[in-house]
């Protein structure tokens, strides 16, 4: 038996061993990067199959830092490659085609949110279904203070100049953290199952409030949303830097300002994500992180060992919320429009899906999950629809099937939830620890009845009381 399998696996193993040699691995990685970048550079929007190629190439590019990270190459080279990809290659790709820049910014935004939620759900084990509310708080903070909409703040002349953006990023952190504590104080004493519904309700309440606070006093401009929100000012030097970079690439930008602005948002997004990663790492690897793990694994033992439950849970809530606040400010400045519709339950659930798909508790996994789900949402499904439409216009025939006859009701972009739902179910059944599982998670999942069985100490229902 054993010999048969090993014989069959021989070539695969040999290949794997070969690829694991640092020099080979380095060469393979560079080859991969070269191919991806060249394809991205060479794509022509006029091509019939552009949507498909673009859907293959850009995700391949986004995944490249993760591939580099897990490759058997030296740490220093990893750092340089990843740094180069994020700080140089992506901006260049983005200048070449700004739709990729937009996607990259969205990925940054959702990565930040997913990392924040990961602190609450992954580290401390508290299921928060209303996380989007903190994002909304940040977005509304910046929007209310800069929107030209006829709100009370605008009318009483309290609008702030656009250069205060960096300050508001910090205020956003503070306000969202305070909101997190205010929500947490009453609800964190509730049992775990109740927390889910209360946070869900809280998320909806924030949305309903945003929708309705246009009267009696107009704070949020209600359903109309806050329009003409200020983006941060772009320094002259940044614009000229953008256009000269574009010139270097042989592109003459008809319109520099929007590109420069998007580029700026991209770097702010990267900066925020970097900070979030550092903060999350440091919190995790500290007495606070150990306390969270303890709470997650056994609440009763944790509190009996002197871990103050409510305080630690509040801290997790506040830490998670604070990131969402800062990212909300960035989001409002980028969209220049904020309306209640952007903060629905489905958004909270998408962020949760990112955390789960990537690997609850692990920072690298959550980032990967955020990238995958965001791309799926914003690029893959949409491009499939566009591809279908392009084929339809050409009256394309594939295996005797006229693409024109494909029912519009079956356009892929309409099945976001279906794909999402299937993804969640399949992940949970076959890989509940996510794509890149966090090691501790895997141990926790082994035989978990020991871990989650709260009931044997929860006093009243136990045998002590009997059936009352």
């Amino acid at each position: 038996m054993a010999t048969v399998t090993s014989a069959a696996q021989q070539p695969i193993r040999a290949l794997r061993n070969w690829a694991a040699r640092p020099a080979v691995a380095t060469a393979l990685i560079l080859l991969y990067l070269a191919v991806v970048l060249l394809v991205l550079r060479g794509l022509d929007r006029r091509h019939l199959w552009f949507p498909t190629f673009s859907t293959l190439a850009f995700p391949a590019f986004v995944l490249s830092p993760f591939i580099v990270m897990s490759a058997p190459i030296s740490r220093r080279l990893k750092t340089i490659l990843i740094g180069g990809l994020i700080l140089i290659a992506m901006p260049l790709v983005g200048i070449y085609d700004t739709s990729y820049l937009e996607l990259a910014i969205q990925i940054c935004i959702f990565t930040g949110l997913a990392l924040g939620l990961n602190i609450v759900v992954g580290f401390a084990g508290l299921l928060d279904l209303g996380y989007i509310a903190f994002f909304a708080v940040g977005a509304y903070l910046w929007a209310m203070f800069t929107s030209q909409a006829p709100t009370v703040i605008n009318i009483s002349g309290l609008l702030v100049p656009a250069w205060t953006f960096p300050i508001f990023l910090i205020i956003g952190v503070g306000i969202a953290a305070v909101t997190g504590i205010l929500l947490g104080l009453p609800v964190l004493r509730l049992r775990g199952d109740y927390l889910a519904i209360v946070t869900l309700g809280f998320g909806e309440m924030i949305r309903v409030l945003a929708r309705n606070l246009d009267q009696p006093i107009n704070f949020t401009n209600g359903a109309q949303g806050l329009h003409n929100v200020s983006p941060p000012p772009i320094p002259e030097i940044w614009t000229s830097f953008t256009s000269s970079t574009a010139n270097l690439m042989g592109i003459s930008l008809a319109n520099v300002t929007p590109v420069a602005q998007q580029l700026l948002f991209y770097f702010v997004g990267v900066l925020i994500v970097a900070i979030v990663v550092v903060v999350a790492r440091r919190l995790d690897d500290s007495p606070i992180g150990r306390a969270w793990t303890a709470i997650r694994e056994d609440e009763v033992a944790a509190i009996a060992m002197g871990v103050p439950l409510v305080k630690m849970k509040l801290l997790a809530f506040a830490a998670g919320a604070s990131f969402a606040g800062a990212i909300g400010v960035l989001y409002a400045a980028k969209q220049t429009f904020v309306s209640p519709e952007s903060f629905s339950l489905i958004q909270s659930i998408s962020i949760l899906a990112m955390v789960i798909v990537g690997g609850l508790g692990g920072i690298r996994g959550v980032m990967l999950g955020a990238a995958v789900v965001t791309l799926l949402n914003l690029q893959v499904l949409k491009n499939m629809s566009l591809q279908l439409n392009a084929l339809r216009q050409m009256d394309f025939v594939i295996f005797g099937f006229h693409v024109q006859n494909w029912p519009t009701q079956l356009e892929p972009a309409k099945y976001e939830r279906l794909v999402f739902g299937l993804l969640l179910i399949i992940m949970m059944i076959f890989r509940p620890t996510g794509i890149l599982p966090e090691p501790r998670r895997r141990i926790e999942l082994q035989h978990d009845d020991v871990v989650t069985d709260e009931d044997d100490v929860s006093p009243a229902p136990g045998p002590m009381v009997g059936a009352n």
Partner: protein
């Protein structure tokens, strides 16, 4: 030493790759002058009936009217986007659209709340947008040079409805509902203001997100028994409300804005829909003398008569195509920039479209638009296009009205002299 070289080589290679990126494109793009026109409307979700009609209208216009441009040696491609009636999706699409340098114009949207944020993105990139359906005042009042629309405005549509309501003999009290969206709430506000000005008693003004069970909303209405209920919303919500309100014993009139102008309203409301009044900025295609051919062609191509706003979408696309032709001519046969095209479109004057003659004012509103009041005649959705037009009023846009007023003053001043 050896180690060092191994470490350095990849970096050199990586720099080389980046260098390749910096270098000018090495894949020669195929020659061929392509113009793309995009559209954004809800193609999925509850409002897709109208959204798909908009897409079809644009597609038909490009097929039928693109001949001149094709003769000039351009290939025209049409890229329809689905904004799902959501501002978020609309903006994300807009970012994709502006990133494609070949897209020179967008026809869209259906929802005012989606059009406003998306047009901010177009504006940053000077991309022309012509709206076939957005009636919210803020769409054009922001004065963006790239935003135009071929239809009227809610601050005129709402009041038109209110004036009509006031003209009904047995209407003294009204109840105003809206769907808490930018569009529905906006038009409902305008209705309420004018209704009060006309001396009607507004018994209630409520927003609701409810889409299935309106029982709780109907109870207080029944208690106050208004003569007319105005619902600023879209047919997929209003239809259900009408059916339930009638079933619960409400006996007065129903009225709504152009959002309820869809055969699906009849589908959803059933018998209760008969007699419902609605105002619209887009009369049924059948009332336009020029539209007979369009109705025929549309029906043949898509297997159903044109839905509301399909003719307006056709006109929007036609205006874009005409502006393109002019801009290309002015540019000596070369593709114009987006900016040039947007300016050319704004300069549209006396364009003879299916739905009337269109001249844009400085905000991109048509100088004159028609506002119609219609009444539903049948619960059969197929009969929707035969709804009775009760009245048609032509009203100038606010800018045009100012201009007229100024002229009027001037003539008034001039008269005594002459």
């Amino acid at each position: 030493m050896l180690n060092r070289r191994v470490r350095l080589q990849p970096l050199v290679l990586f720099a080389l790759i980046l260098g390749l990126l910096l270098s000018s494109s090495f894949v020669v793009a195929q020659e061929g002058r392509v113009i793309k026109i995009a559209s954004q409307s809800p193609l999925s979700g509850g409002q897709s009936a109208v959204g798909v009609g908009i897409r079809n209208g644009v597609e038909l216009a490009i097929q039928q009217l693109g001949g001149n441009l094709r003769d000039m040696g351009f290939q025209i491609q049409y890229v329809p986007y689905d904004d799902q009636a959501s501002p978020d999706v609309g903006v994300a699409n807009a970012q994709q659209i502006v990133a494609d340098p070949e897209i020179l114009a967008v026809i869209g949207h259906y929802n005012t709340g989606v059009a406003i944020p998306s047009s901010e993105v177009y504006n940053q990139n000077q991309l022309l947008m012509v709206s076939p359906a957005n009636t919210g005042p803020a769409v054009t009042d922001r004065g963006l040079p790239i935003v135009n629309r071929v239809v009227g405005r809610d601050d005129l549509q709402g009041p038109t409805g209110a004036q009509f309501a006031a003209s009904l003999e047995d209407v003294e009290t009204v109840w105003v509902l809206h769907d808490t969206t930018a569009y529905g709430q906006g038009v409902a506000e305008f209705f309420r203001q004018e209704a009060e000005a006309q001396g009607l008693v507004v018994l209630g003004f409520e927003g609701t997100e409810e889409r299935a069970n309106f029982d709780g909303i109907i109870q207080p209405i029944l208690a106050l028994a208004p003569d007319l209920i105005y619902f600023g919303g879209i047919y997929d919500q209003v239809g259900i409300f009408i059916s339930q309100a009638r079933a619960a014993g409400y006996e007065g009139y129903f009225m709504g804005p152009d959002g309820i102008d869809s055969p699906d309203l009849a589908e959803l409301a059933g018998e209760a829909v008969v007699g419902t009044y609605y105002t619209t900025v887009a009369g049924p295609a059948s009332i336009y003398p020029n539209a007979a051919q369009f109705i025929e062609d549309y029906t043949e191509a898509y297997g159903e008569p044109p839905t509301p706003f399909a003719a307006q979408a056709y006109d929007s696309a036609a205006i874009v195509l005409a502006a393109l032709e002019r801009a290309i001519e002015a540019n000596g046969g070369e593709l114009p920039t987006r900016e040039q095209l947007a300016a050319e479109a704004r300069a549209t004057e006396n364009y003879e479209g299916l739905t009337g003659t269109i001249t844009f004012d400085d905000n991109g509103d048509p100088e004159y638009s028609n506002y119609y009041v219609l009444q539903v005649v049948s619960a059969d959705p197929a009969q929707w296009s035969s709804n009775t037009v009760i009245s048609t009023i032509q009203i100038p846009s606010p800018l045009k009205a100012q201009e007229l007023a100024a002229e009027g003053e001037a003539t008034a001043e001039a008269t005594p002299e002459s």
